[in-house]
């Protein structure tokens, strides 16, 4: 067994988890959905904005989850795809006056292509080597966005300002609230797509590769194709999340998409539970709210407080939120 390959093969494996555990049960799902639908009516605009961001980050973490939890590949470069998505949307909105809803599929397709092309040479790399390659992508992206050649489109260091859309059909809603519902619809659609993807033939191919690449290829799975496909799909979803974020934040600039963003998304995945799709949103909540909490506990030591909280989480529940969910689900048997 090689050390380098261990990293990939063992990483997402959580033993003895039934297939159903990949998602929430129907009842729970409906409850969560109802809560998500009703909540904005009762809260202030700022909280609605934060909930929108939670859904957006959740989508990006979900994308990483498909890549790592699904196909066992490890990426520290998701911020690059997020940036490409955000810029695609911003450029289409500001330079071509395309309808905001139409920019998202374009962002998704552009990022799918980008991720697929990146996945090709990355095929030969695994584990830490792949981590370094994706990491290089993440560090290069802010610099590339600042290049003079494309400054006319991207606005260079200054970035681009994006206008927020109004609610359609004269619905009596604030812009924030409409954007929240719009994001919710997109998130739901992609979530359902992701669940079905992982249950489909392709999803099983991903998981076969994750569990044992050689055995998978012996069974006739086209390893190269499915690995690049996983990269493409993950990048595409990240791109849509990036596009949504551009609309929600109303601003894109190269320095919003640094390596730190990639790290946050990675932490979100670990905290939520690798390979457990609903966990993505729990993880997103962690990376949005815990730094704020840490800041309010101690300004000077916010990084340390954040670190300690992260340590607490991984000591108590090494498998993330998924472990908590499993404990609740199977209380009678007491197993995990």
């Amino acid at each position: 067994m090689s050390a380098a390959e261990d990293v990939v093969t063992e990483a997402p494996a959580v033993e003895a988890v039934p297939k159903r555990a990949m998602t929430l049960g129907t009842g729970t799902s409906l409850l969560v959905l109802a809560a998500l639908l009703i909540a904005p009516v009762f809260v202030k605009n700022f909280i609605i904005f934060q909930m929108t961001m939670l859904l957006i980050y959740g989508l990006a973490v979900l994308a990483l989850n498909i890549l790592t939890g699904g196909s066992g590949q490890f990426s520290l470069g998701q911020s690059a795809f997020y940036a490409v998505g955000a810029y695609t949307t911003a450029v289409l909105l500001e330079h071509f006056n395309v309808n905001y809803a139409l920019t998202l599929p374009v962002a998704g397709v552009v990022c799918f292509g980008f991720g697929y092309l990146f996945g090709k040479p990355a095929l030969r790399l695994s584990g830490v080597y792949l981590a370094l390659a994706t990491f290089a992508l993440a560090t290069a992206m802010p610099q590339l966005l600042k290049l003079n050649v494309i400054e006319h489109w991207t606005g260079g260091v200054q970035g681009l300002v994006v206008t927020k859309p109004d609610a359609p059909f004269g619905l009596p809603m604030s812009q924030d609230m409409w954007l929240y519902y719009f994001t919710l619809i997109v998130t739901l659609a992609i979530y359902i797509f992701a669940v079905n993807l992982l249950r489909s033939r392709s999803g099983r191919a991903f998981m076969a590769i994750r569990d044992n690449e050689i055995a998978a290829s012996a069974m006739g799975v086209d390893v190269a194709l499915y690995k690049t496909l996983a990269f493409g799909v993950s990048a595409g979803i990240t791109g849509v999340a990036g596009g949504l974020s551009a609309i929600a934040v109303q601003f894109v600039a190269p320095d919003s998409y640094t390596f730190l963003l990639a790290i946050s998304l990675f932490l979100g995945m670990v905290v939520g539970g690798v390979g457990w799709l609903p966990g993505s949103f729990v993880g997103a909540a962690f990376i949005i709210f815990v730094p704020n909490m840490a800041e309010s506990i101690s300004k000077g030591l916010s990084g340390a407080v954040f670190g300690v909280m992260l340590f607490l989480v991984i000591y108590l529940v090494p498998h993330g939120a998924r472990q908590v969910a499993l404990l609740v689900q199977r209380k009678p048997s007491g197993g995990r």
């Binding site: 090689s2 390959e5 063992e10 790399l125 590339l144 790290i263 990675f266 000591y315």
Partner: protein, 292 residues
Amino acid sequence: MELFTNQVLAGIATGAIYACMALAVVMIYQAIDHLNFAQGEMAMFSTFISWQLMQWGVSYWAAFIITLAFSFVAGIAIERILFKPLAKAPVLTNVAGFIALFAIINSSAGLIWDFTIKQYPTPFGSSPFLGSQLISTHQAGMIGVTVLLLLGLYFFFQYTRIGLAMRAAASVPESARLVGINTSWMIALGWGMATAIGSIAGMLIAPVVFLEPNMMGGVLIYGFAAAVLGGLSSPFGAVVGGFLVGVFENLAGTYIPGVGNELKLPIALALIISVLVVKPAGLFGRHIVKRV
């Protein structure tokens, strides 16, 4: 031509630091199969300790030795307290642990010593080395210390019982345990040594990049790159990788038009990835055949 030689020599000097970091990274990687993302912050903290000692009037070399001892003990303590409980946890959880450690050390150093840039003394002086215009005495000293360190480590691993036991524990833990090696303590020892090596790298580069809590960010990235380029299973490769990355980074910054300081890092990383695509295990890494 003078510019070229100059840049190559400067590259070798910074390469020496990357080599030290890469070596520290490989030491821990060999012991526990994880990349330590907090390595640079640990080195930064050690460098601050030595700076603080010197502020209190301790002489350079005394501070150097005390810092080495402190780093060694601190490395062992971190392994025992924080990472031993995670040994059985999933790999990605461990990575999250390293990121948490990074945040804790960085933020604490910022609180204790604040974020202003501090001067750090060099024991070698910064006059031209042996009357040559090409290289300063500090750069020569950096290369010298690195070479000494490498020789010392080589003899330690090749000719001492503990060195042998550590190699055994890293390569086949089960068999090592059967012949009576305390593998758990060998891992802790690896952490201690890696932390000490990292602190040497920190103290050597501090006069160049100045002392502040974020000083090791860039250095660690190059250290990783060097380790991966040379092959994570080969300490020798890590060192060669360090020098290669140092030289290449300097040459790319000087000669490729439009690169400058901003794009130096992405270009260096792009080169490394191109090498990896051709040789996935790194230049000197072992090729591993995987059993089904």
